[in-house]
């Protein structure tokens, strides 16, 4: 089985070629296997969001190869092979919750009855089935983000790209959303690439944590998280959890020291 995401010698330079202003990504090499949950973690400005956008073909890379499901990232985007969740929910204020979830299906020309059926199914998945007729402003931040996740999963993409989706939520809501996301990941069998700057979040969720460092943005470490699934509240109190949190923290510190 080919990797879901394959990155080879990826570079991204902002500014004109002769006078580059920022080296956002330097020599990124990474392979993500099906069913993995990968977190990209690093200080702000390390290019983790840029890397995620490169995988989604939302920005162009300056050099290197970005392959998704064995084809160029652009082709994968045109084929609609991934779902995207941003830090803000990015819901359309003029659409009800259900119609927000239906948006990608609408764009893809799915018939109305099927759209509604699938939209409702997704809302059940994120446990918001009783809110389908609400408008986004009537929901809390956490609920809005769950709608965004339902929307990203509505067309059953094999890959879910998430850019600090819980960054704006309070700690309690965030931990609940983490557990929720693992359940959804388990039920939908998707591959997830998840950008975060929270170490416990990355350790709790991931199969592997990609540690990045800034200026230039590069991968400084890859840490396999060997905590057993299903993970729950007890996982966060497990000694191994604390060990891994420390490992990631030290890797981040080492990455900072490598700075040029």
């Amino acid at each position: 089985m080919p990797p879901v995401v394959f990155l080879k010698n990826v570079n991204k330079i902002f500014g004109p070629a002769e006078r580059p202003t920022t080296i956002a990504l330097r020599d990124i090499n990474l392979e993500i296997e099906p069913r993995e949950f990968i977190s990209l973690i690093g200080p702000s400005g390390c290019g983790k969001s840029t890397l995620l956008r490169a995988i989604g073909d939302l920005i162009e890379v300056s050099s290197g190869e970005v392959m998704v499901n064995d084809k160029p990232a652009r082709q994968a985007r045109v084929n609609r092979e991934y779902g995207m969740v941003f830090q803000a929910p990015v819901l359309f204020e003029w659409r009800t919750v259900l119609r927000n979830v239906e948006l990608p299906l609408e764009v893809m020309g799915v018939p109305k009855a099927e759209r509604t059926r699938r939209g409702r199914e997704m809302l059940r998945l994120v446990e918001l089935q009783n809110f389908e007729r609400h408008y986004p402003w009537q929901l809390s931040g956490g609920m809005q983000q769950r709608v965004a996740i339902a929307r990203a999963l509505a067309f059953r993409p094999g890959l879910l790209l998430m850019d600090e989706p819980f960054g704006a939520l309070d700690e309690i809501t965030r931990e609940r959303m983490n557990a929720e996301l693992l359940r959804i990941w388990h039920e939908t069998q998707t591959t997830v690439v998840f950008v975060t700057h929270s170490i416990p979040e990355a350790v709790f969720l991931s199969t592997r944590v990609v540690v990045m460092s800034a200026r230039p943005g590069r991968i400084s470490d890859l840490i396999t998280i060997d905590l057993p699934y299903p993970r729950n509240v007890e996982t966060r109190e497990h000694p191994r959890f604390f060990e891994l949190v420390t490992t990631v923290r030290e890797a981040l510190r080492k990455g900072e020291e490598m700075r040029e």
Binding site: L58, R77, N79, R80, M84, F86, V90, L103, M108, W137
Partner: protein
């Protein structure tokens, strides 16, 4: 206030209204204010009922000019704004002028329009109203179509959508609150444009000419009655747009959520 009754909601403005009218009536009487300076409300009310059909006859002409001009001006504003989404250079070229012209008192062009089309030709009033309503509509619509959360565009890009889908599913719905704000502004401007345009010359049966003539003949009670009709027409126009807004964008914050 938890679920105030209708009475609680409407009582304060009604009390204020009657207080002002009574105060006005009393002050005109006590201070012995001359009728040509300010007629008492009772005198205006009498003139209102006596001349109602004559005023409404004139008002029909004025409203027609205002509404047609409004449709032409606001419609053109929307179309030009839509075109600037497609042709960015057009937007960059036009916007500075539109914003500059929007702060110009366009009504000053009314005599020129009268000269161009003839003061008794309805076209002269329709054109002045169209020009007055065009700029606020165009400027507001350009803002509504372009001030879109960038992540919404990025989301649509992740779905590999066409620019047309971005327009119909993101930009146009995003612009609707701006559209209604502009329509509210334009509804007021349209009536002002038509009436003031008529002050510079118009057919005998029009609100502007009626008010002007009655004032010149010292029939100030009739002039005031006509001014009140204009005010009521302006409010009615505004309320129609408010009602349309409630139906069209129930999700928006400007719409009462009770």
């Amino acid at each position: 206030m938890v679920n105030p009754s209708r009475f609680q909601r409407y009582a304060p403005p009604i009390v204020v209204f009657f207080a002002v009218v009574i105060l006005w009536e009393v002050l005109v009487d006590v201070l012995n204010i001359q009728r040509f300076l300010l007629p008492a409300p009772s005198v205006i009310a009498e003139a209102f009922f006596n001349t109602f059909s004559a005023i409404m006859n004139s008002a029909a002409y004025t409203v027609r000019s205002a509404v047609i001009g409004f449709l032409v001006g606001a419609g053109a504003g929307v179309l030009v704004a839509l075109a600037t989404v497609r042709w960015t250079t057009m937007r960059e070229g036009l916007m500075p002028f539109a914003i500059a012209l929007n702060s110009v008192p366009i009504i000053a062009f009314a005599p020129i329009m009268n000269n161009w089309f003839g003061s008794t030709n309805p076209m002269s009033k329709i054109m002045i109203v169209a020009v007055i309503t065009f700029f606020p509509m165009m400027i507001n619509m350009v803002r509504g179509l372009t001030l879109v959360e960038p992540a919404k565009i990025e989301l649509m890009r992740s779905y590999a959508t066409t620019p047309l889908e971005v327009l119909t599913k993101v930009r146009i719905p995003n612009a609707l609150p701006y559209l209604f704000n502009a329509l509210k502004v334009c509804s007021t401007l349209a009536l002002i444009g038509a009436i003031v345009g008529e002050y510079f010359g118009g057919p005998r049966e029009s609100l502007g000419v009626y008010i002007l003539q009655e004032a010149q003949l010292f029939r100030f009670d009739n002039a005031w009655a006509a001014i009140i009709i204009s005010a009521l027409l302006g409010i009615a126009f505004y309320l129609i747009i408010l009602a349309a807004e409630r139906i069209a964008i129930p999700w928006h914050a400007s719409v009462d959520r009770r």
